[in-house]
């Protein structure tokens, strides 16, 4: 549940900024944005590839199709609709472990989504739709914080959210760098939009200046311990949740998982390079985070029974 809903929220943020860009941004920036989104999701756009050169009308029509693919497409497991449906299905299965308020909050948001379509949201204001949907997810997180008992169910939910967040951020940063390479140059606007995507514009202005420097943008999104959703903070939170959960029945697997989480924290804290090698390190993080998920499953869910009988 935690992972699906975190992904839905991340996607809403990406799409809100993307459809906002349709109002007044140049075609090149819009193309850059779509490329970045699809690369970060590791998904082929419908029709194969996004045309780089087309007029305004073509760009708008294309954007409609792409937004539909990422918002309401049932067969896209990472669309907003699918993430909601799967997150709600998970919540339904563990309804007895979450609070009644959480369930009602999530179910109402899900039911609202069922009544909408791309035609409907596009006709009025797609930005509002993504803002409202993200806001419903924020409300859900707030309701959970206020009402859910802090037992292992809570910690596993949090753990899922933070692992997903790390993966979303890393995928976005790698996609941003790859999209820039495809365009053969970065514009300041690309970096500003990246800050917007991670809700980090104000933090950047405070920490640095209004003058955007690519390295500083990456530094902020990766290593700032005060920025919500920075890799530093998300990995720290992941390690804390693992500690809170405790060793579990498979002592070996849980120790491996905790060690890996600690190593990822240390990697970001102490090994984040000044310039060269950043992309390589981000790829390591992506791969290790995937492994971390597997170790967690092996340690707490799919553990060998023999380990447990010996305890």
């Amino acid at each position: 549940m935690g992972r699906y809903l975190e992904r839905a929220e991340h996607l809403c943020r990406l799409l809100r900024l993307q459809v906002e860009a349709l109002v007044d941004r140049p075609v090149r920036e819009i193309h850059f944005g779509w490329n970045r989104i699809y690369l970060s999701l590791d998904r082929q756009p419908p029709g194969g590839s996004i045309e780089l050169f087309g007029g305004d009308n073509y760009t708008l029509a294309d954007s409609y199709t792409l937004a539909d693919d990422l918002t309401f497409e049932r067969f896209n497991p990472n669309s907003v609709w699918s993430c909601f449906a799967l997150g709600r299905e998970n919540a339904r299965q563990m309804r007895h472990c979450i609070s009644a308020e959480m369930w009602t909050c999530l179910n109402l948001a899900y039911l609202r989504l069922q009544t909408l379509s791309i035609q409907e949201i596009w006709r009025v204001s797609p930005e509002n739709f993504y803002t409202e949907t993200a806001s419903e997810l924020h409300t859900f997180v707030g309701v959970a914080a206020a009402t859910m008992y802090r037992d292992e169910g809570w910690h596993f939910w949090q753990l899922g959210r933070f692992i997903e967040r790390v993966q979303c951020v890393v995928a976005l940063l790698l996609a941003h760098l790859a999209a820039g390479r495809q365009m053969e140059e970065f514009l300041d606007e690309d970096w500003i939009s990246l800050l917007h995507l991670r809700q980090a514009v104000d933090a950047y202005n405070r920490s640095y200046s209004v003058d955007v420097q690519p390295d500083q943008v990456l530094d902020l999104l990766v290593t700032d311990p005060l920025l919500p959703g920075s890799l530093w903070q998300s990995l720290d939170a992941t390690a804390e949740e693992l500690d809170a959960i405790g060793p579990g029945p498979s002592a070996h697997s849980s120790a491996v998982a905790r060690r890996l989480a600690g190593r990822l924290c240390a990697l970001i804290r102490y090994d984040w390079p000044d310039r060269e090698g950043r992309e390589v390190l981000l790829r390591w993080v992506r791969e290790d985070c995937r492994k971390l998920h597997e170790f967690v499953i092996a340690a707490y869910i799919d553990y060998p029974v023999e380990d447990s009988l010996l305890r």
Binding site: E89, R92, Q93, M94, H96, I245, P249, S308, L309, R311
Partner: protein, 477 residues
Amino acid sequence: MDFGTYDLEADIYDEMFLPDGTPRQHYRSLYETLSQLSAEEVGSIQERVTRSFSNEGITFTVYGDDEAEERVIPIDCVPRILSDGEWRQLETGLTQRLRALNRFLDDVYNEAGIIEDGVIPVDVVRGCPQYRLEMRGASVPHGTWVGICGTDLVRTNDGFRVLEDNLRVPSGVSYMIANRKAVKTSLRRLYRSSRVREVEHYGRVLLQTLQELAPYGRSDPCIVLLTPGVYNSAFYEHIFLAHEIGAELVEGRDLLVDDGFVYMRTTAGLRRVDVIYRRVDDDFLDPLVFRSDSLLGVPGLLHAYKRGNVALVNAPGTGVADDKSVYAYVPDMIRYYLGEEPLLDNVETYLCRRPEDLEYTLDNLESLVVKRVGESGGYGMLIGPHATPEAREAYAKQVRANPADFISQPVLPLSRAPCMIEGRAEPRHVDLRPFVLHGRQVRIVPGAFCRVALRRGSLVVNSSQGGGGKDLWVLRD
């Protein structure tokens, strides 16, 4: 709410009105309250009640040809009411019936005195597909084979009758509580003044019952609810009940048997399980004993159960007592085991395995309901008066081919209760499923899942076939 066009029929008992059209004593407050409300006001109550089910995701799953569909069970906002006297009559009758059924199960899986004494033919019991040879010689705590029973009752002008005993995995109790929650908040003033008996403590009573059925010596038993999983049509109820009794909701893959004990996998390791409130059918409980292709059960579970290391509620093999053929003998069981006359009547039943009953059934198909003994949920039956001659003939062929698979009963004029249909009060047929719990003693929460056939003239109350629910209010004396 307009009762002006509400029609009464002499041969059908109306829950709210006497034959002369005046409301029954215990319905007067409800009648007056509803009469004072405009159609819009009642419509808004109905809408609120329906929406509350949708918002809270109180659903059941219907399986179509291609995919499963999650549906909200329709609920009518007008409650059905029983007086204290009516409820007491049901309570004593249901208690008597479940005591006899438990004695019957203990007997047929052990000494089989009822068969030896010729009260029930041996082939009716041992020929029943639900009779489990594997359970012969088993003993259960307090002689309780059936800890949770949902008995379907109907009312005619002659009084209440038992339509069916559900002794395997009876469902619907969550709707009893959900209906109450939705309706009482919509009719709050009337509810407060009506002195309605509560049902919301069902979870506590169920927990107490399950604790009493734990293996000997397990004073603080670990209880789990075993569900077939999220695709089961009653999954909402499984979650609801697990929450109500504070038990873990588990699937077969979450449990394992080691050295004759059952364990649950938890994130902290294995934990011994003492009581399993199982919502999985016998066939799928243990692939080593029953269906070997079952992925829903737990290998070795029956072995642990027969060693007395875990309690299964209800016990495997209880289906033999709610078989449609065995049903006809329940009044005889009550006389045989308890030495009492049955307090609740059965519906007159013709067993097609008997030549004279077969002949009667085939001669009177147009006035009978014919049911397959192995089917439930309103499926596989013929309602003679509503069927075409061709359908009756086709069904008769099946009956002739396998008479023992069928029983027949007269079409009962089920009682009707007012429902809110398109802003007006209209009568619809209803039944009643109270839940009887049997631990050390019998306990019944004063309420029931009241089912209603929402289609005009329909007698089928099953939610999968156009039925809905109603809240049932049992009034204090």
